[in-house]
């Protein structure tokens, strides 16, 4: 059975893995590796380093499997591990993630980005870099990693309402920062490869 069409939820798969079902780990990997890789590439721009962090995330997931609470959702738990590893990566390298976004001039290590999207990312990255860490983190987890606000709250260790307040403040500041930027042309459609966007309102 193809991994993505496995009828079991992420949490059921994780419970199966904790119980010793090794095949469940493969399915969890298939579901989460593309999301984690995207999250890493967003700020790293180096495929090898991003791969290494994703690999580390799954290794940590394996080692910490006994800590997983089957009553909780898997996605925020996995992203907590990944974000901690990414934060530590930047701390080790003694640089802030925004710098790589701003300094990026070559083709990023992500597939199929059009010029308009690259430019939009750059403009937004500069505006995001000006936000306080707690506001930027919330917006990035929600928008770029696709976590719902209660999931974001779990990752950052705050209440859902606090996370929404941070998002609101971040949006207001972003709008102010983007005020001088050229307005966007009309919508051209969804970026390629975004499965999550399908079936919106």
């Amino acid at each position: 059975m193809p991994p993505l069409s496995d009828p079991r939820s992420d949490e059921e798969l994780m419970a199966a893995y904790v119980a010793g079902n090794g095949a469940a780990f493969r399915i969890i990997f298939e579901r989460y590796a593309p999301l984690l890789l995207r999250a890493m590439l967003r700020e790293l721009y180096m495929r090898e380093e991003a791969n290494d962090l994703v690999q580390q995330t799954f290794l940590q997931l394996h080692r910490a499997r006994a800590d997983f609470d089957p009553g909780q959702k898997l996605k925020p738990w996995v992203f907590t591990i990944a974000m901690n590893l990414k934060r530590e990566y930047f701390r080790r390298k003694k640089r802030r993630p925004e710098r790589s976004l701003e300094a990026e001039t070559a083709e990023p290590a992500v597939p199929a980005l059009g010029a308009a999207q690259v430019e939009a990312r750059r403009t937004l990255a500069r505006a995001l870099a000006g936000l306080p860490d707690d506001q930027r983190e919330v917006i990035e987890l929600h928008w770029f990693d696709g976590l719902e606000f209660p999931e974001v709250a779990q990752v950052v260790g705050a209440s859902t309402s606090a996370v929404k307040v941070r998002a609101h403040r971040g949006y207001v500041r972003l709008r102010q920062a983007l005020g001088d930027a050229a307005p966007l042309p009309p919508l051209e459609g969804a970026p390629p490869g975004n499965r999550e966007g399908a079936g919106g309102i």
Binding site: R26, F29, E30, A33, P34, L37, R38, L41, R42, A50, N51, V54, Q55, F58, L59, Q60, H62, R63, A64, A66, D67, W77, T80, I81, N84, R87, R92, V110, P111, L113, Q117, A120, R121, L124, I139, H142, W143, F144, G146, F149, V155, V156, G157, A158, H168, Y171, R175, L178, L184, L187, A190, P191, G193, N194, R195, E196, G197, G199, G200, I201
Partner: protein, 272 residues
């Protein structure tokens, strides 16, 4: 229109799918959701900008083979120990620290124990034990701790490092002997005794640590926790109530161990 309440995530999904969300449900949602309203200002400029910046998912190619190989290597005593639940690892690590102190209290207790104020004794012991418990919990949560928890690591490590000095200020309050209040003694012996006896805790921490690349602040915390354990057992054993002796011979153990571990740390080091 359905009875379903629209979530912020659905607004985002619609933007990411390339549409500006619209309809009665959206209008209802925006009435009570101020942060989503921001996305719709100026022709939904912000919502569209954020949506455009969402990267496509990336293919992991043959990454699973590497991950699987790493997971297959997870065998042996250390792999079993660090796979234990965090609560159990914390109880074992904290338990060993308390056991060392209890052993001293039973077998090598301070010679002024009967004259020392019981209230002050248990207050100081409780302060040190609580700091050990807190430190162990912080140390062993590792990568699964929420980001806000991890962000406070530096201040927590600093707090754990200065706790023995704060406890040392309380120790003279419980002493009734002029002799022990005024004798500076040999702080270097206490330092060595406490440091050597707390080393097994660092070994146990290494066995329990799940991260391959241990953050510097975690090593400082580990040194601080070992220092607290050393201070607790010295407090049960050494009768000195001289502040200079306590600060030099006892309270510096954690700082010294932290410096030692920090000196051994390399940015890219892997612990296993």
């Amino acid at each position: 229109m359905t009875n379903k309440t629209l979530e912020c995530a659905e607004i985002r999904s619609s933007f990411v799918a390339g549409r500006i969300p619209a309809g009665l449900e959206v209008e209802e949602h925006l009435k009570w959701c101020p942060h989503c309203r921001e996305l719709f200002e100026n022709g939904a400029e912000l919502g569209r900008r954020l949506a455009r910046a969402v990267l496509p998912e990336a293919s992991p190619d043959d990454l699973f083979a590497l991950v699987d190989r790493e997971v297959q290597r997870e065998v042996g005593l250390r792999a079993r120990l660090r796979a234990l639940p965090t609560r159990l690892r914390a109880v074992i690590l904290g338990g060993v620290a308390l056991l060392l102190a209890a052993a001293h209290l039973g077998l090598r207790r301070r010679i002024d124990f009967d004259q020392y104020s019981p209230a002050v004794f248990w207050v100081v012991a409780a302060v040190l034990a609580a700091a050990i418990a807190l430190g162990v919990w912080r140390l062993l949560r590792g990568s699964t701790a929420p980001l806000a928890f991890v962000a406070r690591e530096r201040s927590a490590a600093f707090g754990l490092l200065v706790t023995p000095a704060a406890a040392a200020l309380l120790v003279p309050l419980g002493s009734t002997s002029e002799k022990w209040l005024s004798t500076f003694g040999d702080p270097q012996y206490c330092f060595l005794y406490g440091a050597v006896l707390s080393l097994p805790l660092l070994g146990l921490y290494w066995l329990f640590e799940r991260r391959d690349r241990v953050p510097l602040v975690a090593l400082v915390t580990a040194g601080a926790v070992a220092g607290l354990a050393g201070n607790l057992l010295l407090f049960t054993h050494c009768p000195s109530a001289h502040l200079g002796h306590l600060l030099l011979g006892h309270a510096t153990i954690g700082v010294a161990l932290s410096l030692l571990l920090a000196g051994l740390w390399r940015p890219s080091q892997r612990s296993g």
